[in-house]
Symmetry: C2
Subunit: 139 residues, 2 copies
Amino acid sequence: MNLGRLNHVGVATPSIEKNLELYRTLFGAEPHGPAFDLPAQGVRVCFVDTPNSQIELIEPLGENSPIVKFLEKNPLGGQHHVCFEVPEIHAAKAEFEEKGARILGEPRIGAHGTLVFFVHPKDMGGVLTEIMETPKSAH
Amino acid sequence: MNLGRLNHVGVATPSIEKNLELYRTLFGAEPHGPAFDLPAQGVRVCFVDTPNSQIELIEPLGENSPIVKFLEKNPLGGQHHVCFEVPEIHAAKAEFEEKGARILGEPRIGAHGTLVFFVHPKDMGGVLTEIMETPKSAH
């Protein structure tokens, strides 16, 4: 396994709309598409494209959203996770576990419609790391 | 101005060597080249390539390193900044300032040998954002 594409950087925000306004004002950037709910992850999501990658803006969805605590500590928002692509999610999960990295829950459908899992930040130098199966149609 | 290439994600770490070991073990990834000191920024730096971008591992260089406080709050390390490319650094600085974003200091030579500046995280949704002039030879 090699380090895969940096699919996106996840940025938590109390307001996707306000954050998009920053990207619009400072960079002239528009969102990739409208924001959408991702109930399986407890977040509302909106992507902003760079020429080579994406910024994923995530806003809490529901009271039990996993990013509520992050936003209590970082009221303005901030960098929340990075996401690397792998060719096959179950093989990646098995390999990570064999090497002693803790996986947070079972693979589930992520914002790009393919399976993802998260590696515990304590096993990745303090960085919450999402591992995502490359979409078949991508790149 | 549009949102430029996501040149890298800056990850602060108490030990580049230990962090490289994580990338090696979990992803089979080797560093782009040896670590080097960047005294102007008060950090020691090492890049790890993804197919489309880079992770920049940064370790404190000297007692006054700007990442010492970050590591006190995040002893394991963590996501420190994102870096977007622009075609011309002085034009970008003027445009950001005109739009009310606070710039941290004057443009200075960054890890890729071109001029960079940082935008105050309070003006960028809590994300410390590096703006970097695209290297002439790149891409």
